[in-house]
């Protein structure tokens, strides 16, 4: 029943399969190609917008990040996680009193008296939430179709398909980034870039990673361009004499960029060729926005996520010189796979996330683009609610954060999950699949669609980018899984 995969039936997908897409060294504007084949799907933006994906590698423990705070829920959380008497810390449970400074105050209170606080180390993000500049998406994770726990547990995988390889790091990272498990070469961020290529002066600067290769930014035409936290890497041996020789410099420039018949040789030289072609433009554009100047100097030190976001901020500042109007960025921080030492190690990681994102928001505000830049978190998965002694295990649904002036902040989106690890028929046991691994009540497709719409993607294009989206929303008979979650202005 769910073998229909709209993704395979768009014209773009047809082109992808038949290899007709341009595969030259520089990305070409897709707008012309698509228009020529009758899909006027690309948009031509006149304003600037950027999406920034902050990927938390390893599967972040949601239960100690967006922490259930109201007494009834907190007490359940504490009992499951080994908390101490009197709502004190214990096992892998945080003390309730430690959460008060980061209590989230939504403009409209959650039903049933539910409350959440951020992890105590996330004071910056809590502040942004309470100021209306950040929001929380509750219990989001990959879904092919909406699922109840009973449907998850049934053996009928035709009617109730599951995302493949749940609980496996690399597969779930791939599914978050591209709606497909291992085997995927195109991500939804890259597809957003495909639609935006025509809006940008240099299409190569549409999808930019500051963190290394990932499928998220790979499009059908859009390439993921890599920049280091220090800027574009200039290759000395093609820019300056080599050991005193201009002739060797010239030979190097030929050797490292020449086309080759061998497939691997050619692909390698294409990357080098792109690197050389782009470096001068990036370097000169960044020169006007040195890291030592405000607002970039306000980023915290010793925080590699902050370093990456600082580079993103500088690139955004330089958008005129780069001719950019629509960009998608990827940054990341790892270390979240806390099977052990959850209490000891998660605070540092979350502090980095909070401080980096707060500094980033402030920088965009100082640059006058805070309403035009939206950052959002993503991760392999959430984790179990139950403890293995001093940590938690791989999970599924998780809570995530959206930050930016265009975010309808001071609000929760999605449905607060019950706090439970039981397996009875009671309602509170229906939103996890064992050990408190959350069964998502919002899908990644819905989350991505909401961001994509803000970015400028037409509704008609969304199904091609997010293949499972057609299983959600009013059109699919599931208005309880809306394809616009409503968190963007």
């Amino acid at each position: 029943m769910h073998l229909i995969q709209p993704r395979l039936h768009t014209r773009r997908a047809f082109l992808r399969r038949s290899g007709q897409l341009a595969l030259s060294g520089a990305a070409l504007p897709l707008a012309l190609n698509l228009a020529a084949i009758g899909e006027a799907a690309a948009f031509n933006a006149t304003d600037y917008k950027a999406l920034v994906c902050v990927f938390l590698y390893g599967g972040n423990d949601y239960a100690n990040t967006v922490v259930t705070y109201d007494d009834a829920s907190y007490n359940l959380y504490s009992a499951i996680r080994g908390g101490g008497a009197g709502q004190t810390a214990g096992g892998i449970a945080l003390a309730r009193s430690a959460l008060t400074p980061t209590l989230l105050n939504p403009a409209t209170a959650l039903a049933g008296g539910r409350q959440y606080a951020l992890h105590p180390s996330m004071t910056g993000l809590a502040g942004l939430f309470n100021m209306g500049r950040a929001a929380v998406q509750l219990n989001v994770g990959p879904l092919v179709v909406p699922l109840t726990r009973t449907q998850y547990a049934s053996a009928d995988r035709s009617t109730w398909p599951l995302p493949p390889k749940l609980f496996s790091h690399n597969d779930q990272q791939s599914i978050w980034q591209s709606s497909s498990p291992e085997g995927s070469t195109v991500g939804w961020g890259g597809n957003l870039g495909d639609l935006a290529l025509g809006s940008n002066g240099n299409s190569l600067f549409t999808c930019i990673s500051v963190t290394g290769n990932a499928v998220f930014l790979a499009g059908d035409n859009a390439l993921s361009y890599q920049v280091s936290t220090g800027g574009a890497v200039a290759i000395n041996s093609v820019k300056s004499n080599v050991y005193g020789s201009a002739a060797v410099k010239a030979a190097m420039a030929t050797l490292v960029q020449q086309s080759r018949t061998h497939l691997l040789e050619n692909e390698y030289n294409r990357v080098t060729s792109r690197a050389i072609g782009a470096e001068a433009q990036i370097t000169s554009a960044l020169a006007a926005y040195p890291a030592a100047n405000a607002p970039f100097s306000g980023f915290p030190a010793s925080n590699s996520l902050a370093d990456q976001l600082k580079m993103v901020a500088r690139l955004i500042a330089a958008r005129s010189a780069l001719g950019s109007r629509r960009q998608v960025f990827l940054v990341s921080i790892g270390g979240f796979d806390l099977h052990d030492n959850l209490i000891a190690q998660q605070p540092t990681l979350l502090a980095r996330v909070s401080e980096a994102l707060t500094a980033f928001y402030n920088a965009t505000a100082a640059l006058g683009v805070s309403d035009q830049v939206t950052a959002f978190t993503a991760s392999d998965f959430g984790r179990t609610l139950s403890s293995n002694g001093d940590g938690s295990d791989h999970g599924w649904g998780s809570h995530h954060l959206m930050v930016g002036g265009a975010v309808k902040g001071a609000a929760f989106y999605g449905t607060p999950p019950p706090v439970s690890v039981g397996s009875t028929a009671a309602p509170e046991d229906q939103w996890h699949v064992g050990q408190g691994r959350l069964l998502p009540s919002t899908s990644v497709d819905q989350y991505a669609a909401t961001l994509a719409r803000w970015f400028g993607v037409a509704d008609s294009e969304l199904a091609g980018i997010l293949p499972n989206l057609s299983h959600f929303g009013a059109a699919a008979g599931r208005p309880d899984y809306p394809t616009d979650l409503g968190f963007m202005l």
Partner: protein
């Protein structure tokens, strides 16, 4: 911790700072062909048929004995001996990642098989553990704090790779380290560098042994115990709701033995009636298998603490970092465990449960193709034909003497197979693999005989992709290694044909430049070392280029640019540099005249320029 030698600000690193030590900063990557896509890209199918020689291909052989014998016989059929220096060098570059003139002569003196036999018989070289101790890195001192630092581990492994006498064994151990993964970047315990050395020494010791023993040693190794949480893993506690940690149970199946999907002998995935791949294990298998890995902890029986008054801390000795983990029966799960069709009754003693579990993994039919295919990818080519995979898997299943899991049989099957040895691969546009940056650097060091003047070999972490190699041995970003076996570079011709190129997962616009810039410096001047004369990090009057190549043979050829380039082409890439590339390089060298009367600096400039240009060429970078 303050390693001044290779110190760079954390912000320049893409990997996480060392204080964030939990692993699994897992990089995704696609794996394997899409369901039903069992056909090779056209360019590679021809390779398969040509390599077999007899026009047939075992394909999805069912693994019966006669079938296996027939498959094995094909392995050594075509090319038993090198017919030229280039063929000898090509073999060496696949087998040990570098070739000296001496090595080439040695290979040419007999058959490939005989050379391998000699290497198998050679005893392992000095261990990393002993090297650390000999250089004082086991000293307990609150100022040097070797027990907390990772740089001794970096120095150890670079020294192993740059100087070890048993190069084949070391190359195979590197390949094993990218399958059974522990990362120095993810270790957080006292004596982590020693722990890493013990881990490395384990892979070296088992490299020519049996997969079953290796799997068990890996499972009980303390560094692995910390890395994937077997250490301290406790049985279920219904009172608190605690359940066993599942990390090792999942990864030992997903990565270290059977993989995600059921496989045919030739590595292609089995499919069901609807053409979908069939998962090899479920979440229930993981949860059950996790019970087996409970009750283990580091062996403290030989520990003696030293109290450090400055740090107000008890420092253990190094023994717990090497001794296999021990079982505390009271912490071992008492539940029954059912996984992969095996049942372990409740209250089974831990040792028996472990044996049953490891036997089940080892005997699973997936292991031969799953492990074999990845080892082919590490040594020879990224996209082996199904026939090649089947022959290697058959050798894993039965080494010819009825033994399953004989690693020597696997290495031999890989290196002696027609697909590796045949000249056909040299002209196929899809054959071969991108050399890994850290092994290009090792190749440079071994080819030109680099030496550490002060003898301390302080080469540190070179992971920075913008300023260094973007890769450092035993420091992958996660248990998923530096790259996934099934990585397909997006937006490439490879993506269109679904060919994989694992090593491209670390190729991007930053790392290609980092490699060239870093090599430009070291090729001419060597590795700059702070305080090369002392074991600990620091900076003193001895700072300088401590690790250098003398280039004696190259300097002897320096006035003849063409001869120089021919030599480099042979040693570095087995003559796989085309005439036009060699001409381009020679002409660039000749633009600056060099005679016998030229200064040493001018002569060194020419040698360095020649080496750099070769090592920058795509024909060198892609090993065929």
């Amino acid at each position: 911790m303050n390693d001044v030698t290779m110190d760079w600000p954390d912000e320049a690193r893409l990997a996480e700072p060392a204080t964030v030590l939990k692993t699994d900063e897992a990089r995704f990557a696609p794996t394997g062909p899409a369901p039903g896509a069992t056909a090779l890209p056209a360019v590679l199918a021809a390779t398969a048929l040509a390599a077999c020689g007899d026009g047939s291909d075992p394909g999805a052989a069912d693994g019966s004995d006669a079938e296996l014998q027939a498959i094995r016989r094909r392995v050594r059929s075509g090319y038993p001996s090198p017919r030229s220096d280039a063929e000898a060098a090509r073999f060496l570059l696949q087998a040990q990642a570098y070739a000296t003139a001496t090595d080439i002569a040695s290979v040419r003196s007999g058959t490939f098989s005989a050379w391998l036999a000699t290497q198998y018989a050679r005893p392992p070289g000095p261990t990393g553990w002993d090297w650390l101790n000999a250089r004082g890195y086991a000293t307990i001192d609150s100022t040097t704090r070797y027990f907390d630092n990772t740089y001794p581990g970096d120095y150890m492994i670079w020294n192993q790779l740059m100087t070890a006498p048993d190069a084949l064994r070391k190359r195979c151990a590197v390949a094993l380290s990218e399958f059974f993964v522990v990362s120095l970047s993810g270790l957080d315990f006292a004596w982590r560098s020693h722990g890493l050395a013990a881990w490395w020494d384990l892979l070296v010791a088992h490299a020519f042994g049996n997969f079953r023993q290796l799997l068990e040693a890996v499972t009980l190794n303390p560094a692995m115990g910390y890395y994937l949480n077997t250490k301290g893993n406790r049985k279920e506690d219904p009172a608190t709701g605690r359940v066993p940690d599942e990390n090792y149970a999942r990864e030992v199946m997903q990565l270290f033995s059977i993989g995600l999907y059921q496989l045919n002998l030739d590595g292609t995935p089995k499919t069901d009636a609807q053409g979908h791949r069939i998962e090899s294990y479920s979440q229930a298998d993981v949860t059950n298998l996790a019970r087996v890995f409970t009750g283990y902890d580091v062996d403290m029986s030989q520990n003696v603490n030293t109290y450090d008054a400055v740090l107000n801390r008890n420092i253990p000795n190094t023994t717990p970092a090497r001794l296999p983990m021990v079982l505390n029966a009271s912490r071992h799960s008492t539940l029954a465990a059912s996984f992969l069709g095996v049942s372990i009754p409740a209250n089974t003693p831990g040792a028996a449960a472990l044996a049953t579990a490891l036997d089940a993994l080892f005997n699973h039919p997936n292991v031969g193709p799953f492990f074999g295919r990845q080892m082919i990818q590490r040594l020879v080519t990224s996209n082996p034909s199904p026939g090649y995979v089947a022959r290697v898997a058959a050798a894993f299943n039965n080494n010819g003497a009825g033994v399953r899991g004989d690693l020597k049989a696997v290495w031999s099957a890989i290196l002696l197979d027609d697909e590796a040895r045949s000249p056909a691969g040299l002209t196929q546009t899809g054959f071969g693999r991108l050399r890994e940056p850290m092994l290009r650097f090792v190749q440079w060091g071994r080819t030109f005989g680099i030496r550490s003047a002060a003898g301390r070999w302080k080469i540190g972490d070179l992971s920075n992709p913008a300023t260094q190699l973007g890769q450092s041995p035993l420091r992958p970003p996660s248990v998923f290694n530096f790259f996934r076996p099934g990585y397909v570079p997006p937006s490439t011709a490879l993506a269109v044909s679904k060919a994989v190129a694992p090593e491209f997962q670390i190729v991007n616009e930053s790392s290609v430049g980092g490699y060239l810039n870093y090599m430009q410096g070291v090729i001419r001047n060597g590795v700059y070392v702070n305080a090369p004369d002392q074991p600990n990090a620091g900076s003193n009057a001895s700072n300088g280029y401590d690790i250098t190549a003398a280039y004696a043979a190259e300097l002897a050829l320096v006035t003849d640019a063409a001869a120089l380039v021919r030599r480099l082409a042979l040693l570095l890439c087995a003559d796989q540099l085309s005439a036009s590339t060699q001409t381009l390089i020679v002409n660039a060298l000749n633009a600056t005249p060099v005679t016998a009367a030229s200064t040493d600096a001018v002569k060194l400039n020419r040698v360095a320029a020649a080496v750099l240009m070769v090592m920058a060429s795509a024909e060198y970078l892609v090993q065929k």
